[in-house]
Assembly symmetry: C2
Homo-oligomer: 200 residues x 2
DNA sequence: GTCTATATGGCGATAGAC
DNA sequence: GTCTATCGCCATATAGAC
């Protein structure tokens, strides 16, 4: 790297078009990989299965991601969508978390992936453990900030932990038994919290 | 070791002692397998790892359990300990569920195994899915019966679901982050439920 | 201890875009 | 012609089963 860095313009080797196509197919691969990991877990996922889903051979896939682990990391890196902030405050903001329970079928794959990853984390998958720990901190911070804008309870740590764990538990329950009344259960929790926070 | 085989008189069927020893080692194997499955999940668990833990070779292990799956099923079949019934009623009985949160280090392996199995179930492991579904029914029934002996709320399905999901979520949270205030969170839930059930 | 199945990962070759 | 994307083939490793 002695030559002056990317000076003025240096297309030279790869055209803009190539770069875009490469990025596009990488995105496609990561999307497919996320689905396959969600359906089978890490260990049981084969590169062939992922490649087939995007219409590639195994080697074609390995050109973009040199190893299974690198692909896994790419999936993890992309799986961080900051939840939309509706601006609601206090308990009402918490009530909106009910939307995360999974009843929107569109969100099935990412939800499944998260819970599979949490299982992998408990089973000793280091990369999954790191991702899960980071995500847990984000979720708790989010809940805390939502709560903080409304009535501020004293035992906020317990409240945050209770909400985070309950949402997660209800999500998992729904994945295992879609007929379970998870929405009423969450509504009940919010009602209970509301009664507590407003009488304080 | 050329000595005549067991010709002289061969117990013919299998002595009582042999049967007992076989049962004992099988128990030992299942215990070891449960630990290894809990630490690594199903796919990443090797028969060698299980065999080594009980001081056997892979062949020796396969003599008692002809396949990895048969061993897995044996682990699942044994993993059903009817929780002790203390005779408490209503909310107090629920409060006792806090003991299931995992802070007793002795219960780390079974707790971890359960959550790993739930992850496997979501990831499409059929045997794990069956076990998890059955266990979920047991847990819900248990909570329902505990609650039923005390004050009987109208929305009992939601209450049962809420309790089951929260305990499970807190357990998982504790496995991922042992520093999380899971006990206070559970106490908070019980307090909230108590207030609701007593004012009804 | 051996056999077999399967999965990862690398090497070489080919087709196509600029 | 050079670089990229893809494929076919193989070498290695590892696990399950007998």
């Amino acid at each position: 790297m002695i030559e002056q860095q990317p000076p003025a313009r240096r297309p030279r080797h790869r055209s803009q078009r190539q770069v875009e196509e490469s990025a596009a197919i990488k995105t496609e691969i990561v999307t497919a990989a996320a689905a396959v990991f969600a359906e089978n877990g890490y260990a049981r996922t084969t590169l062939d299965a992922v490649a087939k889903r995007v219409g590639l051979g195994r080697t074609g896939l390995l050109h973009h991601f040199p190893s299974k682990e690198s692909l896994f990391h790419a999936v993890l890196d992309r799986e961080r969508e900051p939840a939309a902030d509706t601006g609601a405050t206090g308990v009402e903001a918490i009530r909106e978390l009910g939307a995360l329970l999974g009843h929107g079928t569109a969100s099935l794959t990412p939800l499944r992936l998260i819970h599979v990853l949490e299982g992998e984390a408990i089973a000793g998958n280091e990369a999954a453990a790191r991702y899960v720990a980071e995500r847990l901190d984000e979720v708790r911070g989010e809940i805390r900030s939502k709560l903080g804008r409304g009535a501020g309870p004293r035992d906020s740590d317990a409240v945050v932990t209770l909400i985070a764990a309950t949402v997660n538990g209800l999500q998992k329950l729904w994945l295992i038994d879609p007929d379970a009344p998870t929405a009423p259960a969450f509504d009940l929790l919010v009602d209970l919290l509301e009664a507590r926070l407003t009488t304080d």
